[in-house]
Assembly symmetry: C2
Homo-oligomer: 383 residues x 2
């Protein structure tokens, strides 16, 4: 879960959290107003990491890395007004995957999409849609529609709102606020409302064929538990190329092409939480496989010896932190927390050289010779 780094470098430098303010300046355009700026007790002007992309690009440039693939899950900071009811905080997690290097077109891009597809599928979030576009096509469309180049970026931001607003409102903004001619806006409208079934990106198509995946997509629709209309929850991932960013940090301006995706991990968690709540399903909060229990007093040493053996064998085991807990309390704990097996050692079991293995669900108990215990536990834990 840590950003990798070249072994000859002090690894804690891979992606620091606190930067000199100037490092982050000029990298975020209009969003810069949300950078969390700070001054320390020595008067140094600092800023907290705003995302994971700019720190990654700076890291590549500083360490002259021209070829890397990595993921990074970490906190970022925004000086925004916290809106807790909407799950917006000043501190939150981002979860990024990026590929940097001079590679043949579209192969790393396709891998990024494949990974998003895999994550959203594996998490069983319901149906989702990945939208693929190429800014060069959009720029081409703008040029064909007669938009001056100076207005490309603002027009693009306005078009982004099509996710939330109907075309008419978007058009009004283009004409009213940005001063486009109504004819130009209408021409844009024809293009941006087109929807393609097929994706022209050859490596991507191969991936999707290989995975028998359906339409290509971004954003996520969640079907609720009652099987009613799918609920749209907005975008849960986004990404793209940033071929110029590393060059901004390199003294000689050397470029390293990059492509990456960011997974909206907190939004995904809130979808999963809603789903769990709606289903009434009980989610285990630990992965404990075996509770080591004793039925009589003065057996704490026997419990510790057994739990050590299980831990050494890689079995996830727990015991109550009481010297002489009641057996009933120990079994109740298994039921409350969903631990499937109890391994019970009492005086009789110690004498006989066995452990009583109890299936918590069926309450069936069998004496297992000590030397066969690990094998038997493993057998029962098999899926």
């Amino acid at each position: 879960m840590l950003c990798p780094c070249a072994p000859e470098l002090p690894w804690s430098f891979a992606s620091p959290l606190v930067y000199p303010q100037e490092t982050l300046m000029g990298k975020y355009g209009e969003e810069a107003k949300l950078i969390y700026e700070l001054q320390d007790q020595g008067g140094e002007l600092l800023a907290l990491r705003y995302d994971l992309t700019v720190p990654f690009a700076r890291y590549l440039a500083m360490n002259k890395i021209t070829n890397i693939k990595r993921y990074h899950i970490a906190k970022v900071y925004r000086r925004d007004n916290p809106a807790m009811t909407r799950g917006r905080y000043r501190e939150f997690y981002q979860c990024d995957f990026d590929i940097a290097g001079q590679f043949d077109p579209m192969i790393p891009d396709a891998e990024c999409l494949k990974i998003v597809h895999e994550i959203l599928s594996d998490l069983q979030l319901g149906d989702f849609l990945i939208k693929v576009n190429d800014r060069r096509i959009l720029n081409g469309v703008f040029a064909v529609c007669g938009i001056p180049e100076s207005k490309f970026i603002t027009t693009c931001s306005t078009i982004d709102k099509l996710d939330k607003l109907p075309w008419e409102e978007v058009k009004n903004e283009m004409v009213g606020e940005e001063g486009l001619s109504p004819e130009a806006a209408d021409r844009i409208g024809e293009y941006v409302q087109l929807h393609g079934e097929h994706c022209g990106v050859e490596p991507l198509a191969s991936f999707l064929q290989a995975g028998q995946a359906g339409p290509v997509t971004q954003g996520c629709k969640q079907e609720n538990a009652q099987g009613e209309e799918p609920v749209s929850v907005g975008s849960v991932a986004g990404g793209g190329r940033y071929d110029g960013l590393v060059g901004m940090f390199d003294p000689k301006g050397r470029k390293v092409p990059c492509v990456g995706v960011s997974i909206g991990i907190e939004r995904i968690f809130s979808i999963l939480e809603q789903r769990v709540k709606a289903s009434g399903e009980k989610i285990r909060t630990t992965e404990t496989q075996v509770l080591v229990a004793t039925p009589q007093k003065h057996l704490v040493a026997a419990r510790l010896k057994l739990i050590s053996e299980l831990w050494d064998a890689g079995i996830k085991a727990e015991m109550l932190y009481k010297k002489d807990p009641k057996l009933l309390k120990q079994l109740q704990y298994c039921e409350d927390t969903g631990i499937p097996l109890a391994a019970i050692v009492g005086e009789q079991e110690l004498t006989d050289g066995v452990v009583k293995l109890r299936d918590v669900a069926t309450r069936e108990e069998v004496d297992i010779p000590r030397e066969k215990l690990l094998e038997e536990i493993r057998r029962r834990l098999e899926p």
Copy 2:
């Protein structure tokens, strides 16, 4: 690797990195001068997390958690002068394990020691020594030696220096700077220079018997590659009880007894790095098991299809991000990066429905029918 938290709470609140300054005040004694204090652009007085213990205690108090066990690996901050040659930075990782709750004495404490023992053993750092003590014994020793209670804490800090200084210098400090009588200092000297072979902590002894572990210990000695004298590298872990800390954050002062250990993960990394350097051993930087390769042009789709299958089967696979890489280059990449297997699909293999599986070390190649490929790869990857 994230701190767990109660599901009903916004999870990003579990252990924030930036705190109001007052939250951290009064928790660190003399060390407080190293807290990294900040003022944000709105004038709020903030501080960066100084360790993981105080945030953990605050989290328990705020969420009324009386019973939890967790580990947490994360960055902490010190406003110290960075000394990069000695591996000291303002930003570094801590790696903590803690057990909180009202439990029978010594059982959680013993588990903490067991875990330290396990970590240091598994990492094969060489011989190490865990020192176990009880502050109440030390306080008793001080009382017996006639030290006034007001001087317990400073005397204790001075005694801590015995790791680095000879007894005579420590004694001089006690007498000269702290104003203890030479007789009292000598009496302390008799006690603190005692070394016990046996550990009186019963659960701990059981654990260590169970694991056939040797002497009880803290700190780590590294044997260098030439088999010369062991090199002492100082302490790599530390810990203890902090039964009063949670109460400092609870409005009603409710206490939650806690015990924990902190692993000096960056120091351990530097020991491991030194060892690797000294041995000349080559460490793989990826876990890739299979390189998917093609021997002719125009086969990128075949590579993507095969790599998708491998990924879906949980096999760690990679391919070069080139449309038409030379076969030699692909095989060279395996040798350079230590990938043990290459799965090669060419025109002939596609026609025959096979994949050529190459053992990179022996250079032996065998055609495997497509439907048996996953099974064969798994068989070869078995340890």
